[in-house]
């Protein structure tokens, strides 16, 4: 954690948020300011400490393999920004998935 620099454009791409040039500059400055404050964490002696995996320890929480009611399709599609017949519809996908 040596730098308070953040590549806002790269991160915005990862997060799928379009930003204007002004926003890149403004957010960049604000977030670098935050990272400067965050740099204080470098002083904490965390060496041997385990990261908090869970706030309240519990293990193996699981559910039985028993069906529960699903949502009705008309309810599901009613909230869809765009649907076609029984499906959700989206604009064309350009790149292949991973």
């Amino acid at each position: 954690m040596s730098s308070s620099k953040i590549d806002v454009r790269y991160v915005a791409k990862l997060a799928r948020i379009a930003l204007t040039d002004d926003e890149v500059a403004t957010y960049g400055a604000q977030l670098e300011n935050l990272l400067e404050h965050v740099a204080a964490l470098e002083q904490l002696p965390v060496g041997d400490v385990a990261p908090t995996a869970q706030v309240i320890p519990a293990r193996n929480v699981a559910r039985d393999d028993v069906p529960q009611p699903s949502l009705a399709r008309d309810v599901v599609l009613a909230g869809a920004p765009q649907s076609q017949g029984a499906y959700f519809r989206v604009p064309r996908i350009i790149a292949e998935a991973e």
């Binding site: 393999d65 499906y87 959700f88 989206v90």
Partner: protein, 487 residues
């Protein structure tokens, strides 16, 4: 062009949909072929405020699958979020396992048709959720390229998935298929999955590279996708090995890329992929608790060795059942169980296997009734013993089999009652042979003069004289003896 010999180095990565009543993190039904977007809920649609709760049976299935291949089940494992955007991803992150999977290591053993024993190590089997399914519209061939829009069905989103990753221990396309069949065989036997590629419950990719024979460093590998059956896995890997060899022989270099198999043209083509590596930003999923198991809990889930197909295969092969037949038996759970109980009584494993896979299998195919339902255990045992004792020949066997198929009747009783037993007594058959030879002087002379095909006629005569009951094998043997003896 060089004359170098190359060896192929292959690793397989496959995704296996688990057989459970419900999805991985919600209670929607896990069933293939339902009407689109009918098995969905706030959780598997990634709606605001929804939370995942893991399916206990899916966890157990995966642990048992790992144990079946001698994988290690760690005391602690967890779920992680794999973050990326795609329209069939309801949350735009997939709940998966990154650095602490629920099983690690393991080895898959398999036998090739020629009896060669091989094995391939597993890196891991981990648990994750499946994505929804998209179809693409507005293009001529339904592919993504050239499409104008996509339609998404989330029925499959959230179905539990085992991701099985192998080490690159596989050395040929045939081995790759044998490896996959071994996986399938075990998963089906354990009841953890149907493993049907055509229904999408098994999807696999292959990593293929080649290197000079004897080299230790790996060559550049390509990832092959879009194989829809075991046969296309075979063809695709062979095609890719040949393609890479041709390039290297020509002095070229292999480009590391993803290639899609085209079933129609029988070739792989480079997939238009963005070369930027995905930054999945894995982190432990805070909505889920870790999986912590004691050795005792793990032991309770351990499959018994005798329930595993590897075990049965080894037993069959050791008892001289041909490898292909052994696979056929083991691959059919009902038949395998039936075989086991019958062979236990006949104490003749090879004969039992050969018998069950011949006429009874044919009848099962024709009638649509499985062998173990068409035949009672007792009937199978008796038929095998009757043949072994020489009491009936193949023709009678077929006839009696058809008689008892679907009934509970006893073949031994029928044979006895109807006098179907063939005559195998040497003396009795000799008597028939003598009678026929005596009556067929011309044929005998013909035979001795060189017309050996007369033998079949004479044989027929002996069978007729005996009312069809003489053991045809013995008849032929005695005829030949008598005919070659000097008069």
């Amino acid at each position: 062009m060089n004359g170098q010999t190359y060896e192929a180095v292959i690793g397989i990565e496959c995704h296996v949909e688990l057989r459970t009543e419900t999805k991985m993190f919600c209670g929607c039904r896990n069933v293939f072929g339902a009407e689109p977007n009918t098995n969905v809920c706030p959780v598997c649609l990634g709606m605001p405020g929804a939370l995942p709760v893991p399916n206990r049976v899916a966890l157990e299935h995966t642990i048992r699958a790992g144990l079946a291949f001698a994988a290690e089940i760690p005391a602690y494992s967890k779920f992680d979020r794999k973050n990326y955007f795609y329209p069939d991803m309801p949350k735009d992150y997939q709940i998966s396992q990154y650095d602490m999977p629920i099983t690690s290591g393991g080895v898959v053993e398999y036998v090739l048709d020629d009896g060669t024993r091989k094995s391939c190590r597993l890196t891991r089997i981990h648990l994750e959720e499946d994505t929804g399914k998209s179809t693409h519209g507005g293009s001529s061939d339904g592919r993504i390229a050239g499409s104008a829009f996509s339609l998404v069905d989330f029925n499959r989103a959230g179905v539990p998935l085992m991701e099985c990753v192998s080490e690159p221990d596989i050395r040929s396309a045939a081995e790759a298929v044998a490896f996959l069949e071994a996986l399938k065989r075990t998963f089906v036997a354990l009841g953890v999955s149907d493993v049907k590629m055509e229904e999408g419950s098994l999807r696999c990719d292959a990593n293929v590279s080649i290197r000079p024979a004897g080299a230790t460093e790996y060559g550049t590998k390509t990832e092959i996708k879009n194989m829809n059956s075991f046969r296309s896995v075979f063809r695709a890997i062979e095609s890719e090995i040949a393609r890479q060899e041709a390039i290297l022989r020509d002095g070229g270099r292999i480009v590391q890329e993803t290639r899609g198999w085209d079933e129609v043209t029988g070739t792989t083509h480079s997939m238009r992929s963005k070369e930027e590596a995905h930054d999945y930003r894995y982190f432990p999923d805070p909505d889920l608790t870790p999986i912590e198991l004691t050795p005792a809990e793990i032991d309770r889930m351990r499959p018994r060795a005798e329930d595993l197909p590897q075990h049965m295969l080894a037993v069959l092969v050791a008892e001289n059942v041909p490898v292909k037949r052994a696979h056929q038996i083991v691959d059919d759970a009902g038949l395998a169980a039936f075989y086991r109980s019958v062979a236990a009584k006949t104490k003749a494993p090879a004969a039992t296997a050969n018998f069950l896979l011949a006429d009874p299998a044919r009848l099962a195919n024709e009638s649509g009734t499985p062998v173990h339902e068409g035949l009672s255990e007792r009937a199978a045992v008796e038929l095998i013993q009757l043949v072994a004792a020489g009491t009936i020949g193949s023709k009678t066997l077929k006839a009696v089999l058809e008689r008892v198929w679907g009934t509970g009747e006893s073949p031994a009783e029928i044979v006895e009652r109807e006098g179907l037993a063939q005559v195998s007594d040497r003396g009795a058959v000799e008597a028939y042979v003598r009678d026929v030879l005596a009556a067929q002087g011309k044929s005998v002379a013909d035979y001795r003069a060189g017309k050996t095909n007369v033998l079949q006629f004479l044989k027929g005569q002996v069978m007729k004289t005996s009312g069809g009951k003489a053991d045809p094998v013995l008849v032929e043997e005695l005829l030949k003896e008598s005919l070659s003896a000097t008069p």
